[in-house]
């Protein structure tokens, strides 16, 4: 009972302390709030990440690079008057973070990743004067642009690369969560491999999340043991574990042919061994989230934001493709990739976006 009384007092004190401070600062904030609001002539943009954060070496980071480039080109500063981001610590924070940015007067607010789709839908309806954009999902709404990618097309290209590189005639795919979005990567990759050689065996594993790198390591370990020599990962941070495993194997036995195909960004840096020369990254499927993010920001700046529009970034508009780092690719592979790219662009070759 004594303890209870103590606690009660403790919490009451805490509460009164908090309220007292709160009131004080509230007045202070009002004035700064007005200051912030007046010089708003710039087209300010901000984004909310999913749990990955802006240093995930993949998706969120790419989006943030797009915003930074936009900021640089328009000489905006990071912060309330230019461009900014908020990171989410849990699923519950998406709508709060989106709201926060909208209320602070950003003209365009991005939700990065399909996980934010519901939150974007809700917050966009509540803030009709702010523009929103969602990456990797389609959200209906007068003030929402949806940015989608033809991941299957890019995955088809790296599938071609994998098929031409493999010596064991066995390649692997490591996905993150088993979602339709990731199956799109898998479908394109499988089609690309089969396009070159239908006899190649493809092993598929899903780690079940996008965060835990240890699961990627375990998945890669199993696939390389099964004699796969090329693995394509689409598993976010979990996929970084695939690089770890490949590098370990390569260091243990430098003569062994071991390759990883990166995703979203040019992941050549992830595959570099300690000697600074050998690299296990064969190529990467670039998903230009940065280009997509910047495209919409540029359109908005020119007053041409189209609410309700569904953008598709594909091979044709350079929204997907293979990475610029091509040291491990032979000229005949590059030639073939180029040929296939043209065929897809012209429509002569149709890439399936769903598993057969």
């Amino acid at each position: 009972m004594k303890k209870l009384g103590l606690l009660l007092v403790m919490m009451l004190v805490a509460a009164s302390l908090l309220t007292a401070c709160g009131k004080d600062k509230e007045e202070g904030k009002k004035t700064t709030g007005e200051d912030k609001a007046t010089p708003k002539t710039e087209y300010t943009v901000a984004m909310v990440t999913d749990l990955g954060g802006i240093d995930d070496k993949s998706f969120n980071q790419s989006a943030w690079e797009g915003l930074q480039l936009y900021g640089k080109e328009n000489s905006l500063e990071k912060g309330g008057k230019g461009y900014d981001y908020l990171q989410s610590a849990s699923d519950a924070d998406y709508s709060t973070n989106l709201n926060q940015l909208a209320k602070n007067g950003f003209k365009l607010v991005y939700g990065i990743g399909f996980l934010l789709a519901d939150a974007v839908k809700e917050v966009a309806a509540q803030n009709p004067n702010t523009n929103f954009a969602i990456v990797d999902s389609v959200v209906e709404g007068k003030n929402v642009a949806s940015l989608t990618f033809a991941e299957h097309e890019g995955s088809f290209l790296v599938g071609v690369v994998a098929a031409m590189k493999t010596k064991t005639k066995r390649v692997g795919f490591v996905g993150g969560m088993e979602l339709d979005l990731i199956k799109k990567f898998q479908a394109g990759f499988e089609a690309g491999v089969k396009h070159i050689d239908p006899t190649i065996k493809i092993d598929v594993t899903y780690t079940g999340d996008f965060v835990d790198a240890a699961k990627g390591t375990a998945a890669a370990n199993a696939l390389y043991k099964a004699n796969c020599d090329v693995i394509y990962h689409a598993a976010g941070n979990s996929g970084n574990g695939v690089f770890t495993e490949a590098k370990n194997l390569k260091e243990a036995d430098p003569t062994r042919e071991i390759w990883v195909i990166g995703v979203d960004k040019d992941q050549a840096a992830e595959g570099l061994l300690k000697d600074g020369k050998t690299n296990v990254t064969l190529t990467s499927m670039m998903k230009r989230v940065d280009v997509a993010v910047k495209t919409v920001a540029d359109a908005g700046k020119d007053g041409k934001f189209e609410g309700g529009k569904v953008y598709e970034f594909n091979l044709k508009n350079d929204g997907v493709g293979i990475a610029p780092t091509q040291d491990n690719l032979t000229p005949d592979i590059l030639a073939k990739v180029k040929e296939v790219t043209e065929q897809i662009k012209s429509g002569a070759l149709k890439v399936p976006d769903k598993l057969q």
């Binding site: 004594k2 509230e26 912060g79 519950a92 709508s95 969560m177 979005l181």
Partner: protein
């Protein structure tokens, strides 16, 4: 020093120390500590939206805290609250998205009940293993968390997802929803819902079961001493299982708060929500009493939510915010050492 004065002084010192050390860390890292705290408090109190959302954050914490505390009072360490929470969430949404046409009086309680049953069932297995085979509940409940996460993910994706590539269920019917339009209007579209009332009622029930009922007396007694209770004629195994069931039910209802209130749907999750784990902390700080858990949840939820405002308004990075919050909580949790410190200072002075 008299004890009333001390009981007021100790928590004040604890909180001040927490803020002080947190502030020093911010300054050492080159950030404006005053501005940092200012945005933390503004993030809770500066407008009705923030206040509403703070309560949204607090609501499930109260229930998950009660779940951990209940098990703890009966001698069990239920780390599986997170898993029971996720199962409860899924169960509530499943009921909430089915049975169209029921009246709210039936549908809403039914959905909450489903969550309680779901959470309780998830805690049943660890309870049975503990009661009859003496398998340690910590190990089993931790493992059950992972099973819960992946099983519900599968269930949501395969059985509940609306289709067309989405990974979320339909929204629950209005008749099963805890939200109320007025709340949303008053708080500038925050997701504030009736769940806070449910949580407070649950705290009352918790207090009644443990302190006022015969069942609660037996449960606590078994928690204190298995052997003595058995000698006194109590059925120890039955009581262990019952304790896990009730604890799991609280955790399940916490899930219903998210499923029927905050989110109104269930989504495939990439990882744990942390609500169940934070419940361990609120239970400890609240000394496993009903009122203590409620107050600790207010503190935790407030800090957690208010800190979302820090990166934007004071440029303090998210990672550092987590460190500062952890420090504040650390000092509050270690109020015992502060008490000893105060004792030393004051006895010296008296000499």
């Amino acid at each position: 020093m008299n004890s009333t004065l001390k009981s007021i002084l100790v928590p004040i010192v604890a909180i001040l120390l927490g803020f002080l050390v947190g502030g020093i860390i911010m300054i050492l890292c080159g950030y404006d500590a005053i501005l940092g705290y200012q945005s933390l408090f503004n993030g809770i109190f500066s407008n009705s939206y923030f206040m509403g959302e703070s309560i949204v954050k607090i609501t499930p914490l109260i229930l998950s805290g009660l779940a951990v505390a209940f098990a703890f009072r009966t001698g069990l360490f239920n780390i599986g609250v997170e898993g029971q929470f996720i199962v409860g969430w899924t169960a509530a949404v499943y009921v909430g998205t089915h049975f169209e046409g029921l009246s709210k009086v039936v549908h809403l309680p039914l959905a909450i009940l489903a969550a309680a049953v779901g959470g309780a069932l998830w805690a049943l297995l660890p309870g049975i293993l503990k009661a009859y085979l003496r398998v340690h509940e910590v190990v089993v409940t931790i493992m059950m968390n992972y099973i819960a996460l992946h099983v519900t993910n599968w269930f949501i994706q395969e059985k509940m997802a609306a289709g067309g590539g989405t990974n979320t269920s339909e929204r629950v019917f209005q008749t099963a929803s805890l939200s109320w339009k007025q709340f949303s209007d008053w708080t500038a579209f925050s997701r504030l819902h009736w769940g806070i009332l449910v949580a407070l009622i649950a705290a009352l029930i918790y207090w009644f079961i443990l302190e006022k009922s015969k069942v609660g007396y037996e449960l606590r007694s078994v928690g204190f001493n298995h052997h003595a209770s058995q000698y006194a004629g109590m059925n120890v195994s039955k009581n262990i299982i019952l304790a896990m069931l009730i604890s799991g039910a609280f955790a399940g209802v916490a899930g219903a708060m998210e499923g029927l209130g905050t989110f109104q749907y269930a989504a495939v999750k990439g990882g744990f929500t942390g609500v169940g784990f934070t419940g361990i902390a609120t239970a400890f700080i609240g000394a496993n009493t009903a009122l203590g858990v409620v107050l600790a949840s207010f503190l935790f939820g407030g800090l957690q939510f208010g800190s979302l405002n820090m990166p934007y308004n004071s440029q303090v990075p998210t990672e550092l915010v987590a460190v500062v919050i952890a420090l504040i909580i650390y000092f509050i949790a270690s109020n015992y050492s502060i008490r000893t410190l105060l004792d030393k200072i004051f006895t010296k002075g008296a000499k």
